[in-house]
């Protein structure tokens, strides 16, 4: 047991806290240790900031349900990341909703700046949405490595450590993600050009 807290989950399975010690953790303790990691992972997987809290709760609902099936020989953060991937995948099914909201946001912002020159905030928002569109084209595991390296400036060794991956896997995912990102960026530019000439 840890810190006098009782493992309330059936089994109270011994779980490594990623510091090497093997202690039975419950979902509250896992939250305490890994909330930042889950929060960051969900963002890297493209969860809209406004939906992060609820999506994070979804992750911990799954953690609570599945804790008894966790293989204690695995790293907890790797297992959590797998759950984040699945929950984010469910969230993506609601992507149409996000797009509608984004359109609403743009319309609202455009309305606010009516009769004025295009607003800097509006342009920045549009640029962010284009980036999001391209990132959405990446395979999620590659996307996470790409975002950590290119946007968050996390080193490859640190990425490997956080995600529980061999360093070579991080390099290969980054390389594949770069290729996919460049292709998607090119496709987006060609779409823009076609739209302008239509």
């Amino acid at each position: 047991m840890m810190g006098g807290l009782r493992a309330v989950h059936s089994g109270g399975v011994p779980i490594s806290d990623d510091a090497g010690s093997s202690k039975p953790l419950d979902v509250a303790q896992i939250h305490e240790l890994h909330a930042d990691f889950v929060w960051s992972s969900l963002q890297r997987l493209g969860i809209h900031v406004a939906d992060l809290e609820d999506t994070m709760q979804d992750v911990f609902v799954v953690v609570h349900r599945r804790l008894g099936t966790f293989d204690a020989s695995s790293r907890l953060s790797t297992w959590l990341f797998g759950i984040c991937l699945r929950v984010a995948s469910q969230y993506r099914r609601k992507a149409h909703r996000r797009r509608e909201r984004s359109v609403l946001d743009l319309e609202r912002m455009a309305g606010e700046s009516e009769n004025e020159a295009p607003d800097t905030a509006l342009l920045a928002r549009e640029a962010e949405q284009r980036l999001e569109q391209v990132l959405d084209a990446l395979e999620p595991r590659r996307r996470v490595v790409f975002v950590m390296f290119e946007i968050e400036s996390v080193g490859c060794a640190e990425i490997a450590e956080q995600l529980g991956l061999p360093l070579g896997t991080v390099y290969s995912r980054l390389s594949a993600a770069r290729t996919d990102f460049a292709k998607a960026a090119l496709r987006l530019r060609r779409q823009d050009e076609r739209r302008r000439t239509a």
């Binding site: 509250a28 929060w39 900031v49 809290e53 994070m56 709760q57 979804d58 609902v61 609570h64 609601k94």
Partner: protein
Amino acid sequence: MTEPKRWLEGGDAGEDALALLRAARPPVPLGAAARRRSSQRVAALCVVPVAATFGWWPALALGAVLGAGGSLVVTRLVASDPPPSETSSARHAPSTNSTAAPLVEAPSLQQQPSEAASLPEHAAPKPAPTAPVAATLAAPPVPESDSADALQQEIRLLEQARRDLASSPGAARLTLLDHERRFPTGHLRIERELLLVDALVRLGRRTEAEARAASLERQNPNSLYRERLDQILGKLPK
């Protein structure tokens, strides 16, 4: 193998990719308030037996039949006992033990507490539904042909939410809010509210859940949903 150079630091990238990357904003950290709210919700999970998170949703059997007058009549069949299995057919099959109640137009449904109350402190408020619920409940029914199609869409959304409810109450909530936005006066708005109350309880948003439940009870003071609401809110054993 050496670490590659980041694109924005002079790595080998095309101008299209660089222009997009320059728009990136740093990630939003988990703030203290959001962390506290999340901790509270997770702590609430700890007092729920794991089996309960697999719990059945009482069969929400939706029967849509055309009445003699040609108008669409929707009956709601809510089982009072758990179904014997979670099979799809069991979920959809009308239950002989169920109580059918005709759809009754509710006089009003009060506006719910703001969703923004539980957003991260840095998050922008979510847009309000396209039409206030209270203002639209009395809207005239849509034409029959549209109704049949709309009902299918409503059923799909609610089925999706029900499937997500146990494993992903947040996703279920999004689907239900989508239903609320698209069908504010839909045939299945009461089922939507029941599911929303359930999703909010599972998300630890008890105050919002109770507000929704109170509003639903005000509309239907003697409805057969009351018992189910009490079960969801923990006032009655499940």
